[in-house]
Symmetry: C2
Subunit: 226 residues, 2 copies
Amino acid sequence: MREHKSISIADQIFEQLEHDILTEKYKRGDMLTEQKLSETLGVSRTPVREALRRLEQEHIVHETSRGTVVIGITQNDLRDMYEIRMHVEGLAAARAAANISDEGLAKMKDILELQRYYVEKTKSDGSDNSENIKDLDSDFHRLLYLYSGSKAYLETLLPLHKKMIKYRKAAVRHGGRALCSLEEHEGIYRALAAHDSELASKLATEHVRRAGDSILSKNTEILKWD
Amino acid sequence: MREHKSISIADQIFEQLEHDILTEKYKRGDMLTEQKLSETLGVSRTPVREALRRLEQEHIVHETSRGTVVIGITQNDLRDMYEIRMHVEGLAAARAAANISDEGLAKMKDILELQRYYVEKTKSDGSDNSENIKDLDSDFHRLLYLYSGSKAYLETLLPLHKKMIKYRKAAVRHGGRALCSLEEHEGIYRALAAHDSELASKLATEHVRRAGDSILSKNTEILKWD
DNA sequence: GGAGGTATAATTGTATACAGATGTACATAT
DNA sequence: ATATGTACATCTGTATACAATTATACCTCC
């Protein structure tokens, strides 16, 4: 018996729409309709519909009788999400330190090396690698949650982290946060490798606190809405 | 413009399937198919399909190329969910104490009075009101999250709480937990009414801790699987 | 000129048809 | 008897048709 389903059109539409909303291609208040989207994307309404329902479930859009409104995320939402993560991420990191395997550590190391490559490249030639750095940041945290070995932690933290994409990219670009963040990741990695739960927990919590401070202070300059 | 959509067939199917899974009408490992369900429920595959996708998103079922497998929740998942709630519920309660309105307090009071009615009825005539008590428990916590005034807290805590339905019912029936839980709710309510964030936070955290202890110890007797 | 009603266009909700994929059972060959 | 291949039944994924609902524009009446 095959274990996994192949990637359906609906999956692709979902990913694309989620990305387009979190990166503000579709902005807060924009109206999406199944028909227009299906024409634009060149597929039937069925997979578009499925994607929109999943976005509704994630509270990223809101469906009305007449169409689908983009909700997005407010500054207050962001503050609250960081507050929650500050109290949970450390627990997940502690679990990961106890449970992570050598393969897990290897994967994480790969990500960090790539991240360091992009950060130093940006520093040396001034190129914009914020897209890549942001994705690697996502990967790092996703693995951290995954290696916690707990479905509950993964399901709680991953959605919170996903919704911050847009803001993380802004924070990475404006200011020296990228290097700090990388070094904090490396610290967490070392704690995981040493299977030191207490240290991992402390560093992860501190990492979230700093990231939150950085992004929240940055956004008051960058983004004015709400 | 109408603000809300009317309740669709898909919504109803979703609610029913979610309830049937969390109350173990459909058990862990059971296979559901869109076709069978649509025949059984007397609707087309479309709304059934939509409901199943939403359940998949909540990690309550898992879709394979051949059908949909019921996942359910393990003892370890339950433990982790309580651990997370222990670290977040107090924050939500503190927010609620600061933000709750008089209407909100009134609604909460109604729920608590009804809950007390059922608990005392059970105590006096031995009738089984666990279904009602469980629902009122859900209502109380849903309102607490709602009145936190934070989308992030609502979205984080409500799914965790929903998934515990089955276990809460068992805990209510077996043992004197119902009365304890009610009294703890009433204590939280008084803290909210006094707008005492610190006390509300402390009591809510303690409430979660006790509920978790109770359920986790009970389930080792009641439920053997996993 | 404004208010109200009606026709129309657009959009969602549901059902159904069809294609592709996959497991299953049975037959056949070794 | 076992392994293999093939036909079939089943299920999902997608497209499409149709019904119900709702906003909008226009037209009429005052």
